[in-house]
Amino acid sequence: MNISKIANLKFFFTNTKNLSRFLGLFTFILFFFGIYWGLYVAPSDYLQGESYRIMYLHVPAAWLSLQVYMFMAITGFVSLVWKVKIMEIISIQCAPIGAYFTLIALVTGMVWGKPTWGTYWVWDARLTSELILLFLYIGVIALYSAFSDKRQAVKITSLLAIVGLVNIPIIHYSVEWWNTLHQGPSVTKFEQPSMHISMLLPLLYMFLVFNVYFIAVLIKRVQLGIYNREKRSKWMEDYLSD
C-alpha cells in the first residue's frame, strides 16, 4: 500500500472507525490492570510511603505532555513541507490532547507536592516551564480557533508549534540546569535507573497505556476533524448516506 493512499482523508476516515473503537476499549482494560499493578502490587516507597503511587499517573502524563508536543510539531512540519492534508488534521488535533496531559501532570504533580514538599506549588523552573507548556498548547489552540479559514489556520499554528519546540529541552533539562525542588531524572538516565525494578515496570507499563490512550483519542479526534472539514464534500455525503 502506498503512502499517498494512507495519507488520503477518505481512506483514513473510512478505515479507522473500528480501530478507534477497539483501541478505546483496549485502553480501558489496560488502564485498570495498570491501576491495579501500580496501587496494589507495587511495593510502597521507603521514603514517601504510599503517596508516591500518584507517580503512575504523574510521570506518564508528564512524559506524554512533552511527547505529544513533539509529535504535534513534527506532523505540523510534515504538513507544511510536504502538504499532506491528513498531517494538518493530526497535528492540530494533538493540541487539546497534549493540553489535557499537561493539565494532568500539573494537577497530579501538585497533589504529590503537598505531602512531599509541603506545598502545592513552588515557582521552580520545571514546574513553571511545564505550566508554560500548557500555555503553549493553549496558544496553539487559541491561534487555531481565531482563524476562520481552518486550512490557513493549520499552516500558521504549525509554525507556532514548530517554533515552540525550543521550549521542550528547556523543560526537560530544567532540573539539571537549575537545582530545583523537583525530582531529577530517575528513569530517563543513561546509566542504571535509580528506581527499583518493581516500581519501574508498572511505570513503564502505565507509560505504554497512556500512549495507547493517546493514539485512540487522536484517531477519534482526527475523524471528527476530517468530518468537519469534508462534511460538504461528495464522498462524505455518499459515505454517510450508506
Binding site: 506549588w121 513552588v122 515557582w123 513553571t128 493553549i138 489552540i141 487559541a142 480557533s145 481565531a146
Partner: protein, 220 residues
C-alpha cells in the same frame, strides 16, 4: 434595536470562540512571569500579589483599548455611527461596557482562584475583588478615551498608554490604599466609596466625551 447591537458585538467577539479566555490566559501568563523575574520567595510574592493583579488588569485594558476605534475608523464605521439616528452616546456606553466584560470581567472572576493559589486571606481577597470591580471600568473608559484621542495618529501603540496612565494613577492610589488598609486591619471603606464616586462620575460622562472626540477626529 439595542438588543441587535449587543448581539452583534457579542458575535464579533465570539467569532474567535476563545476571545473571552484570552485575557484570562494573559493574566495567568503575567502572574507566572513575576515569580520568574523577582524570585520564588513566597513571602515577597504574597506581599506584591495584589499589585501584580492590578498591573495585569492595567495592561489588559491598555492592550485592548489602545486600538479600540482603529478598525472602525479605518472601515468608515465611525461615520456610519455619526450618521445614524440611534443615539451615539448609547452605542458608546455599550461599547465601553462590552469591552469591560470581555477584558476585565474574566480576570475578576478568577481572583478567588488566584487568592487560593497565593494564600490570600478571604477578607483581603474580597477587597481586592471590590477595588477591581469598581476600578476596572474606570480604567477601561479612560483607555478608550485615550484611544479616541489618538485616532488619526499612526504608530500610536505606546502613545495611548503614555497619555492614559497618568489618569490611571488616582484609581491605583485609592485601590492600593484600600488593599493596604485591609491587610493592616485598618478601615478601608472610605477608599471604596471614593472609587465608587469616581466610577459614578466617569461612566456617565464618558460617552459624551467620546462622541465629541470622535466628531473632532472625523472633522480633522
Amino acid at each position: 434595536m439595542l438588543r441587535k447591537i449587543i448581539y452583534k458585538e457579542f458575535k464579533s467577539y465570539f467569532r474567535n470562540l476563545n476571545s473571552i479566555f484570552l485575557p484570562l490566559i494573559f493574566f495567568f501568563l503575567i502572574i507566572s512571569i513575576f515569580p520568574l523575574l523577582i524570585g520564588p520567595d513566597k513571602n515577597l510574592l504574597n506581599k506584591i500579589i495584589p499589585g501584580i493583579v492590578w498591573i495585569t488588569v492595567i495592561f489588559t485594558t491598555l492592550l485592548s483599548s489602545s486600538n479600540f476605534f482603529k478598525d472602525e475608523y479605518n472601515n468608515g464605521f465611525i461615520e456610519t455611527y455619526l450618521t445614524s439616528e440611534t443615539s451615539l452616546e448609547l452605542i458608546l456606553f455599550l461599547k465601553i461596557i462590552l469591552c469591560w466584560i470581555f477584558t476585565c470581567l474574566p480576570i475578576i472572576f478568577f481572583i478567588p482562584i488566584v487568592s487560593i493559589f497565593f494564600d490570600i486571606p478571604l477578607k483581603n481577597s474580597f477587597v481586592i475583588l471590590f477595588t477591581l470591580i469598581i476600578g476596572s471600568p474606570i480604567l477601561v473608559s479612560i483607555g478608550i478615551f485615550g484611544s479616541s484621542l489618538t485616532l488619526g495618529i499612526p504608530k500610536n501603540n505606546v502613545l495611548v498608554p503614555v497619555i492614559t496612565l497618568p489618569f490611571y494613577i488616582p484609581i491605583l492610589i485609592f485601590s492600593a490604599s484600600a488593599i493596604e488598609s485591609v491587610s493592616s486591619g485598618l478601615p478601608y471603606e472610605m477608599q471604596l466609596y471614593i472609587l465608587t464616586a469616581l466610577l459614578c462620575f466617569v461612566l456617565p460622562i464618558m460617552p459624551y466625551l467620546l462622541k465629541y472626540t470622535l466628531t473632532l477626529s472625523i472633522n480633522n
